[in-house]
């Protein structure tokens, strides 16, 4: 089948691809998005079923290596201290995300100037500020204005209720005089543009059947489709093709039936996330780009950053509301966010309060921790922890290191025979010190909140939710892959808009910033269209 050439071709329909598609749609060019996954129906989400906890560990598991759905590609994570997690569908990883929605802070963009580490971004918070606001409106963000950790901004909806566990944890922070604030959350606290308010299903990370959580299949995509953007699902891009002059020409992809198709485009935009994008670039070798597309700097796939996470849990003597409520959206703290060299590490971390466990998860966690034995004592053990736990996640700032990489696995392939990514990731000493510090501080906060016992997982290995840095932006083509508005230095009509282009990782969840960047890149293309191909 011959595919009509398009003006803008986006690969990946997740958080960034959706935002970009909506923003670029009014430019007057034909816009097409190719997505390897399907549309997911809200009626298929686990929370429609009584065994929702088990379903969340199977077809809606956060690791593609566990799910193994047709849309998934395997990731070799054997040499990585942290497992990369994602979802492949329209909406991308926002299908499963927790929707905790902090922005990067102004200082996150200038860590070299402030702290002498890593690098400054070629753009700043002020550049992105209008896009943060547009994105908050499009995603539907609930929050309380006035957090002193941030420049003043007003989320479009009032904050979500903290719930019992949030109230208890907040009181602990308050007692210690530590910063805390109700999280900005991409979850509706009231009816919002056709979306119903959150009803506290507690199943956010296996999809929101209520549609209160902002996955981009229900936020940006309907708006983008109304503007005429076309999306083709079940289409896995194998490589970006190039013209004799080295510019992007389009892509080769496998359609839903597995047939190889060619799609030409004037502008190619990659939005496959921090693992999928370097994989695609490295799979796009040509005589013009022998080391992979846009890789003259050699930095494609390098500087992979996750956020190393620690989980700290408190056991309390009172019921806390269990799992009910938006899983990861309650409150945050920036008490230890900025560099204080007396702590023995540079940069810092944020805390994100999470909720308790549902019954099955309580039993499994309790078994692993020795609280819930089989046989005699089972029910006493379970009762001690059920509905009695709540916790904090520490999200530490990962600094870029070239040795942390995404490369192509020499043997592993996906179902189409396309080489799969291999992740090599080692935890830095700085991160280790930061995690250790965070664990102690979190225990202090939970104890102040009334915990009778605290436990910690000092490094969560199954927590590679945030994928960043593998095609970093910068002004110098020798030390970066894309310029300050996402354009590949080596191919003027190729753009990258996902977390790959992050220079540093901040100490907060990245998606608000990823999407603000995607909107900003779209506007930069519009602004520069006259000279884009010169």
């Amino acid at each position: 089948m011959a595919n009509e050439p398009v003006g803008v071709l986006i690969v990946g329909a997740g958080a960034s691809g959706a935002a970009f598609a909506w923003r670029i749609a009014d430019m007057g060019l034909r816009v097409l998005c190719l997505e390897q996954g399907p549309w997911v129906k809200q009626s298929d989400y686990p929370s429609n079923n009584i065994d929702w906890e088990s379903r969340g560990m199977g077809p809606f598991a956060t690791s593609p290596n566990i799910r193994k759905l047709p849309a998934d590609y395997p990731v070799n994570e054997q040499d990585s201290a942290i497992s990369p997690l994602m979802f492949n569908a329209v909406g991308g990883s926002t299908i499963l995300w927790a929707a905790h929605f902090p922005r990067f802070t102004p200082r996150d963009f200038r860590v070299k100037s402030d702290d002498g580490v890593a690098d400054d971004w070629p753009i700043d918070y002020q550049t992105l500020e209008p896009y943060f606001a547009i994105n908050d409106r499009m995603m539907g963000v609930s929050g309380l204005p006035g957090d002193p950790a941030y420049p003043y901004h007003e989320p479009p909806m009032p904050p979500l209720p903290l719930g019992k566990s949030g109230n208890v944890v907040a009181a602990g922070f308050q007692k210690l005089g530590w910063h805390w604030w109700p999280s900005d959350s991409a979850v509706t606290s009231r009816e919002y543009e056709g979306r119903a308010p959150c009803i506290n299903l507690g199943s956010c990370i296996s999809g929101c059947a209520q549609g209160a959580k902002a996955s981009t299949d229900i936020t940006y995509w309907p708006a983008a489709l109304r503007k005429g953007v076309e999306i083709r699902t079940g289409c896995r891009v194998r490589e970006v093709t190039v013209r004799p002059d080295g510019m992007a020409d389009g892509v080769l992809y496998y359609d839903e039936e597995g047939a190889l198709q060619e799609q030409k485009a004037e502008i190619v935009v990659l939005a496959c996330n921090g693992i999928g994008t370097p994989r695609l670039l490295l799979n796009s070798k040509s005589p013009q780009h022998p080391d992979g597309l846009a890789n003259s700097s050699g930095l494609v796939g390098k500087n992979l950053m996750f956020h190393p996470y620690a989980a700290i849990l408190g056991i309390f003597d009172e019921p806390l509301g269990g799992r009910r409520g938006p899983t990861g959206c309650s409150l945050w703290s920036h008490q230890f966010y900025e560099t204080d060299r007396s702590r023995g590490f540079v940069r810092g971390y944020s805390f994100e309060a999470v909720r308790g466990f549902a019954p099955a998860q309580t039993s499994l966690w309790g078994m692993a921790r020795g609280f819930v034995p089989w046989g005699e004592g089972h029910h006493q053990g379970f009762a001690r922890i059920y509905d009695r736990t709540t916790g904090l996640l520490a999200i530490t700032e990962d600094l870029p290191e070239e040795a942390n990489t995404v490369t192509l696995d020499p043997e592993l392939t996906d179902s189409h025979g396309i080489p799969a990514p291999k992740v090599n990731y080692r935890l830095s000493e700085n991160s280790q010190k930061m995690l250790a510090h965070a664990v102690e501080r979190a225990k202090e906060a939970l104890t102040a909140a009334g915990a009778v016992e605290t436990l910690a997982e000092p490094l969560m290995s199954a927590a590679g939710w945030h994928l960043m840095g593998t095609a970093r932006m910068g002004k110098d083509p020798k030390t970066s892959v894309v310029n300050e508005w996402g354009r590949a230095h080596d191919a003027r009509n190729l753009f990258i808009i996902d977390g790959s282009i992050f220079v540093t990782a901040g100490g907060v969840n990245p998606t608000s910033t990823i999407q603000a960047l995607a909107l900003y890149v779209a506007d930069s293309i519009k602004k520069n269209i006259e000279t884009l191909f010169d």
């Binding site: 989400y45 929370s47 429609n48 079923n49 009584i50 065994d51 929702w52 906890e53 088990s54 560990m57 309380l144 006035g146 957090d147 002193p148 950790a149 941030y150 420049p151 003043y152 904050p159 209720p161 903290l162 719930g163 019992k164 949030g166 109230n167 907040a170 009181a171 308050q174 604030w181 109700p182 009803i199 506290n200 299903l201 507690g202 199943s203 059947a209 209520q210 509301g321 009910r324 409520g325 019954p359 099955a360 309580t362 039993s363 499994l364 078994m367 819930v372 089989w374 046989g375 005699e376 089972h378 029910h379 059920y386």
Partner: protein, 150 residues
């Protein structure tokens, strides 16, 4: 199609063994795992589990045989303490048995409507009814309102 392993087809064995793993609660609110009809679910799950399936099945067979050796009427005919002893006697040779079994049995048990009811949880999926959440403590918000703006 693979056949359900012999021990899991013996409902008296399954009921007695599952009750050893999760007995009824003393207050009678929570049923024993044996009374919930979970055998076929568990058999299917173990069949599909390449890591724990084979060692659990081997362990179940060993418990089954050890009980028969002790009493020709089998595991279910043993008094409660003897059942525990038989299970424990096999754990040295089958260390994965209880880990693998509980990994499947605990979630099946704790998602059963009767167990949810016993825990005081509504025995239904979260959607569409959802749940109530305690509002934010107004005193906490009051404190935030006094924070300086940036």
């Amino acid at each position: 199609m693979t056949e359900t392993p012999a021990p899991l087809r013996d409902s008296a064995f399954v009921q007695a063994l599952f009750d050893v793993v999760i007995p009824p609660s003393d207050d009678g609110k929570l049923p024993g795992a044996g009374s919930l009809g979970l055998a076929s679910t568990l058999a299917a799950q173990l069949e599909a589990d390449p890591v724990f399936g084979p060692p659990v099945q081997a362990g179940l067979q060993a418990v089954y045989n050890a009980a028969l050796a002790r009493d020709p009427a089998g595991f279910a005919a043993l008094p409660p303490q003897a059942r525990v002893e038989v299970v424990e006697s096999q754990l040295g040779a089958h260390p994965m048995l209880m880990i693998g079994l509980t990994l499947h049995l605990y979630p099946a048990y704790y998602q059963h409507p009767r167990v949810l009811e016993g825990l005081g949880e509504p025995p239904r999926p979260p959607f569409p009814e959802g749940y109530d959440l305690e509002p934010t403590d107004p005193h906490l918000l009051e404190h935030l309102r006094t924070q300086p703006r940036t």
